[in-house]
């Protein structure tokens, strides 16, 4: 999931020279024009990606082998007439082009149709699961980022030390552990073994009021620990390596020479400069939040979007997977766009 910053993040010579000319009146209009161009380029890029996703989504899931009618009626005593009626209801008996056009018109109205399996609008199903996924994956993202970045800074600043070696080792070990396996181990030890936490689900049926809040928190501990454990390493490593790159820089020596305390040098000079790659990573992963964590959601029976996508694929429940694919992709595109737009704000070198 690590990705390099956009290629044009590397400052061009004339841009650097520009900064020397800052304040010159003639350049102001030029700047505005270039800012607009930068914005326009990014927006256009996002729009093109989105259109591509919308088109791909329709055809991608039709390439997957599988006949929804057959899968859904498998093992049931159905007649040929029932099968034909289902195909008609799903619109699968119409020519592909006609299906595509009605899909496109639907997407434009933000209507992804009705799920084959559940006879319900895709959007309302997504709405139901959005909360649990954002809660779980969002919380795990926040904790992993905080934990990973902080450990990364500590590690790089005292690199080679015991703490660094142990932290990096532990993080890498956990990173390479399959999440569903770790989840099961946690269930075996802390849920069915010690009985500290529930084995699965998001809440106990019938619990209300403030108890329900604690109940959800109680259910969330193990999936959260699993998710954090397997992903925080990437933040740690990115932060650690980019801070290490900065460590030898002259400006740090200058800062120290000014008599700044070590922690000040770290916090005010080194870390801000080293934060940039981590920022990109964070935004990319925020985009992926919606996709949830299919395996962890499944192991812990967390009623989220990742699981819904998996269920849709096994049929294939075309409206459901198409809708989810578009929504997931749109989130990633949007967050990439936001990251592109924010980048110049935190790094003067890429300002247009």
């Amino acid at each position: 999931m690590t990705e390099l910053p956009p290629s044009d993040a590397v400052p061009h010579l004339d841009e650097v020279r520009d900064r020397g000319d800052r304040g010159a009146r003639g350049r102001d209009g030029d700047r505005l024009r270039r800012t607009t161009a930068y914005l326009g380029k990014r927006l256009l890029g996002a729009a093109v990606s989105l259109v591509a996703v919308i088109f791909t989504s329709f055809f991608l899931f039709r390439i997957i082998p599988g006949d929804p009618v057959r899968v859904m009626t498998h093992g049931r005593p159905v007649t040929i007439e029932q099968k034909e009626a289902l195909a008609r209801e799903f619109g699968l008996d119409r020519p592909l082009l006609e299906q595509f056009v009605s899909y496109l018109l639907g997407v434009l109205r933000f209507d992804f149709g009705e799920s084959f399996q559940y006879n319900r609008p895709v959007l309302s199903m997504v709405g139901e699961r959005l909360g649990p996924t954002m809660l779980l994956v969002g919380a795990s993202l926040a904790i992993s980022i905080a934990l990973g970045l902080w450990l990364g800074v500590q590690g790089a600043w005292k690199h080679g030390g015991t703490a660094d070696r142990v932290n990096t080792g532990v993080a890498l070990t956990l990173w390479s552990v399959p999440s569903f396996w770790l989840g099961l181990i946690l269930i075996v030890v802390f849920a069915s073994g010690l009985g500290w936490f529930p084995t699965s689900g998001m809440k106990t049926p019938g619990v209300t009021g403030f108890d329900a809040v604690l109940d959800v928190a109680h259910h969330m501990v193990l999936p959260l620990v699993t998710l954090v454990a397997v992903v925080y390493a990437q933040y740690l490593l990115v932060m650690r390596s980019s801070l290490l790159d900065e460590m030898g820089s002259d400006y740090l020596t200058t800062a120290r020479a000014k008599g700044l305390r070590d922690t000040e040098v770290k916090r005010r000079h080194a870390v801000p400069n080293a934060l940039l790659p981590a920022t990109t990573l964070v935004f990319i992963n925020v985009g992926f939040v919606l996709f949830g964590a299919v395996l962890v959601e499944t192991v812990f029976s967390w009623p989220g979007l990742g699981k819904l996508f998996y269920e849709g694929l096994s049929v294939p429940d075309l409206p459901l997977v198409q809708g989810l694919f578009v929504i997931f992709s749109a989130a990633v595109i949007l967050m990439n766009l936001v990251s592109d737009l924010i980048y110049p704000l935190i790094d003067p070198r890429v300002r247009p």
Binding site: T79, E81, L86, M134, S192, P205, A212, H218, R267
Partner: protein
Amino acid sequence: MFHTNHRGRGLRTMLAGLLITLLACATTLFAGTGAHAETKDEKTLTIAVSQEVDSLSPFLAVRRLTTALGRLSYDFLTNYDPKTGKTIPALAESWTTSPDGLTWTYKIRDTKWTDGTPITAEDARWTFDTMMKDEAAATANGNFVENFESVSAPDPRTLEVKLKAPQATMLALDVPILPKHKWEKAGDFAKFNNDKEFPIVGSGPWVISAYEVNQSITLTPNKDFWRGAPKFDKLVFRYIDDSDAQVEALKAGEVDFVSGLTPAQAKALDSAKDITVNKAKGKRFQAITLNPGARLQDGTTFGDGNKALQDPVVREALVRTIDREAIYKTAYGGFGEANGGYIPSRYKDYHWQPEGDAVIGFDTAKAGQMLDAAGYAKGSDGIRAKGGLKLSFRFNVHADNPQYIQAAEMMREWAKEAGIELKVEPVSEVGALLDAGTYDILTTGWSVNPDPDYILGINRCSGLPAKAGGPYLSDAYYCNPEYDKLYAAQLAELDPPKRAEIVKQMQEKLYEDNIFVVWGYADQLEAFRSDVIASMTPQPDPGGNYDSQDGYWSWWSAKPVGDEDKAAADSGGTSSGLVLGGGAVVLAALAAGFVLLRRRGGSAADDRE
């Protein structure tokens, strides 16, 4: 050089605090409000399920879970006796047939819907009539009314069905009868999921009283159920997707019943405290089908199946390389019955199995001799061939079924001894290969209902596709006019013993043709908490299963363990004390983690400076 940075620490603490607050706020938002918290002495039976609700409308529901919910909450006209397997009265108290077998008259029981409205024959008439006239209402159970000419309710206690042709399955109409007064206002049946108004008005032993999407379905007893009220106070179906997680939840006492265990899970649970493992005779057969040449009803062939399989000698030789006993002993861990009969042995009346000389048993040497005699000679690679037809077959196996894969690997070894090559290829979508006819051997399996009509019907010639790409019922491109004649005869035979005799002849035909090759019946493995459930009725009784029964026997009859034992191992509800404790643990863990990590970083810094 080590200085405490107050600002930095403050920031971090703030961040931690913020996180925890956010967490708490978010949980409040999504917690929602459910039913009333459970009281201590309420006896709940919690069942782990991995399927989701497709629809709570019996017109639409096709999944195992939701059809079972339909069974529990709506009475059918008839039911099956768990001991004998024979049809017994349910909503219909009694029935008569006209001499020509075309008119069936049912006397409807004088009982009430759960909202107090009397149940009448008009409800049953409306249910069947709607399925006949409305395509959407026929989605799930339209097959049952296919042969109906008309339905009428001459008086509130009499339901009359006129058929187009006699059919023997009129006492196996597994259709939930719906309350007309509620349903006629439903509107478009294709869109009506019956999940807005709770409790759902029904007539079965249990009432669906709450449903939380993807989390749980709660049922309460129908105190006035004519056969007697269920003994538990609550029946909860709880979603746990992962099979291993289900087992852990059973051990933790969060659920009281799990089904669909693997042989390994069943063995591990066998020694667990307070847990009883049930090995039930399976209602499902496992089989392979050999491609006899995929074709349409008009005879047009398609696909690329190896033509050698169109030779009955090759098929028989191949079947002789299968050691069914070994498959159930090894791949199924001893939990299953090797048997070549199409209808599982638990259905005593209809089951048939080969005896004496009729057995096409495991004998690789004989397979070799048969092939030798038929002119299939071994090539330099040890694989037999005749006239360019090489006995090398693709064997496509369901990739998600480890038992199938293991059995296929075993079959590959045996076939090799007879000079036949099986190329085992696990695939995620076996059906697509069947559609296109692009296979040689496929794994398959069907769950068989108490009435065998449908499962026999799929092998008729009319089960072949009528047009390319069109829907079809066949699972093997089997077509044998003699079999079709027997099928028609059994459907028209209203005398059960005579009908069973014809059904057995049909199975004999299938067995001899070696196209649909049954291995046997894996046990249905289930486990339950013996400290919660004192007893319940299996189907068949004894030796049968509790989950997905053809009837409501298990959950209706389940008796809770007495109060004094129950207190120690209360299942289901988490008390608020425990919840509070859990919440505190979360906060403590988060805080402790933070402090610990902070300290670790700090001490490392100390060492270095």
